[in-house]
């Protein structure tokens, strides 16, 4: 019971007591949102640039969507790049070949991710633990090979280029996201906020509580008559949907669909973001994504062998920092 209480607490963002006084959960939320809303104005001072901030927000959305499954349902997926990349290619192909409209492109990208996730989900929903992880890894690679091989449509190894994001046409007004990085940041942040809001609401609902129960003790949940497989399938679908949304945004950010978006290395990056920030905290993956992306940006501008450093970083996080940033803070303050 007490364990469940604690995790229920973390689902709401938790109250983090810092330096003697208890930082209210709402205050913490407000600080996070304030920082995100003002990011384009201060990121330049600390040596960043607007596009870097946009990348953090988009990849954080992917990592938080993954964490819906990983941290809150307790199911280990290592193949989320597939749905991220499907969003990316869905949008890119639509804008390049069908209609040059951002919203239609996003809808098609997300739909592609949902359809693929629904079908693959049906095949894997009965598997658990490392078996689940293995199969998600392997299935994640199908779409990579399709993108890689279907040269004349997807551009193969070079990726899908020759298109760019279009202004968002809302009927009454247009948002020019193409030439205005600021505007694109806020569009991305809007999508981020809506998705995160939906996921937070879901986690607070009876459905979300059931997911936590499954994570804590699947057998007991089953004895209580909860249709566990169906819950995991729905959770998987939700997670993949928002990952697909993040993929469409990422393609727009780069004006390019990269086959690397579909590759298993990208899946691993999402997982490390979630772990680095703290899997059991709602905001954890955001912090993890920020640290990871800034670090990657910095290292890859200094050395060609940045992959080794990223690999070393993985190892160090796993061996010395397995609870992640927020997990550590929580643990310290609880003692």
């Amino acid at each position: 019971m007490s364990r469940l209480d604690k995790s229920a607490d973390s689902a709401r963002g938790g109250g983090i007591p810092i330096a003697g006084f208890r930082l209210d959960k709402r205050a913490a939320d407000a600080v996070v949102w304030l920082l995100l809303l003002t990011m384009p104005f201060w990121i330049g001072w600390i040596g960043g640039y607007t596009q870097l901030g946009t990348r953090v927000v988009i990849l954080a959305l992917a990592a938080m969507s993954l964490n819906f499954l990983l941290g809150y349902t307790g199911v280990m997926s290592f193949g989320h790049a597939a749905y991220f990349g499907l969003g990316s290619y869905g949008l890119g192909l639509t804008i390049k070949y069908l209609v040059p409209n951002t919203l239609v492109g996003m809808a098609i990208g997300i739909a592609a991710a949902i359809v693929a996730a629904a079908i693959i989900g049906l095949l894997i929903v009965r598997l658990r633990g490392i078996y689940f992880a293995m199969v998600t890894i392997a299935f994640g690679q199908v779409f990579y090979f399709i993108a890689y091989r279907w040269n004349n449509v997807t551009g193969g190894d070079d990726g899908l280029s020759g298109w760019h994001r279009m202004p968002v046409d809302l009927g009454f007004t247009q948002i020019d996201i193409l030439n205005n990085d600021f505007a694109f940041y806020y569009v991305a942040l809007f999508c981020f906020a809506v998705s995160i809001g939906i996921m937070a609401l879901l986690l607070r609902s009876p459905f979300g509580r059931t997911l936590l129960a499954i994570r804590e003790n699947e057998r007991r949940a089953r004895f209580l008559g909860i249709p566990v497989d169906r819950h995991i399938w729905i959770s998987w679908l939700i997670s993949c949907t928002f990952t697909g949304l993040a993929g469409t945004l990422y393609a727009m950010l780069n004006n390019f669909s990269d086959p690397h978006d579909l590759h298993w290395e990208q899946s691993g990056n999402f997982v490390i973001m979630a772990v680095l920030g703290g899997m059991r905290s709602f905001w954890g993956p955001l912090i993890g994504a920020a640290i990871f992306i800034v670090l990657e940006d910095y290292i890859s501008s200094r050395t060609e062998n940045w992959e080794s450093f990223i690999g070393l970083f993985f190892i160090l996080v796993v061996l010395f920092f397995p609870r992640g940033v927020l997990g550590m803070i929580k643990r310290k303050t609880m003692q």
């Binding site: 490392i130 293995m134 392997a138 992959e307 080794s308 993985f314």
Partner: protein
């Protein structure tokens, strides 16, 4: 046409033998320790490059013999230092760790030996064609299949006849009981890890002789090996062997009719197997 199909079936068997060697190593480690070794491909590449370094000193045969052992030693050190602390924790962590290792091994080989493909020569008499009619039966390919067969038989003999092999099999079923019976399970896991990496190193030397040396070889071969393990069924080594050969032949035959799908076909097979038989072809029910 028959010849073409025959050629591709044989070629598929050769590739399948690779997948099987690699997947058997993966499976060994997975079954006993519950670690999904993402770095397996990296160890394979390392085995190939170590052989490349050794050839000038000890010749092809010496390298073929020594390189897998050296690779296994590297594997043992890594297991002891990094993976052992993670036993008993969420398998997510060992997965992430080996993921990082895969990055380092690939980038490290690229750093030391360069990104370009290095040639790896095999003895001349192995390069000859054995038959003018069946042009594809080069000596090296037949040799590879032969060596892979001998290795697999050796592995199964070790597992069924030696004390340590029997302990590995027992540990796969119930490690706790094996530990209670007085077996040093930490040591057992280390030996088992080394055995798996040995197989990867051997596959690496063989692959180098056929494909040449490239830092990315390992990451290209790792996914099919995962698929082989899943198709064969987790927990079953004969299943893994069968899975490796099956997907090798399947992608070989597909490359005759629809070359662009030769990679995707193995995932379709995996999907079908999971649909009909979620535990894999030879997997035990209820184990995973």
């Amino acid at each position: 046409m028959t010849e073409l199909i025959l050629y591709n079936v044989f070629n598929g068997l050769v590739i399948g033998a690779f997948y099987a060697l690699m997947a058997l190593g993966l499976s060994l480690i997975l079954n006993l320790s519950g670690v999904i070794n993402f770095a397996h491909g990296g160890f394979l590449t390392l085995g190939g490059y170590l052989a490349f370094v050794l050839v000038p000193f000890v010749g092809f045969w010496g390298a073929l013999l020594i390189s897998p052992f050296l690779t296994a030693i590297v594997g043992l050190v890594i297991e002891r230092l990094m993976i052992r602390p993670l036993y008993g924790r969420d398998p997510l962590y060992s997965l992430l760790l080996t993921f990082g290792l895969a990055y380092i091994l690939e980038d490290g080989t690229r750093f030391i030996w360069g990104p370009q493909t290095l040639p790896f020569s095999v003895p001349i008499w192995l390069q000859s064609q054995l038959s003018t009619q069946f042009f594809f039966l080069t000596g090296y390919r037949v040799f590879m299949v032969g060596l892979a067969t001998v290795t697999v038989i050796g592995l199964f003999l070790i597992l069924s006849r030696t004390r340590v092999g029997m302990r590995i099999r027992a540990g796969t079923l119930d490690l706790e009981t094996v530990s209670v019976l007085g077996v040093n399970t930490r040591f057992l896991r280390t030996v088992n890890f080394g055995l798996g990496i040995f197989l990867a190193g051997l596959a690496g030397v063989l692959a180098a002789g056929m494909l040449g040396l490239q830092p990315t070889t390992g990451s290209e071969l790792i996914m099919p090996s995962f698929v082989a393990v899943v198709i064969g069924g987790l927990g079953s080594l004969p299943g893994t062997l069968l899975g490796g050969l099956l997907i090798g032949v399947a992608s070989g035959v597909t490359s005759v009719f629809f070359p662009d799908a030769s990679e995707a076909v193995i995932y379709v097979m995996m999907g079908l197997v999971l649909l009909v038989r979620p535990r894999g072809l030879l997997g035990e029910e209820g184990r995973f």
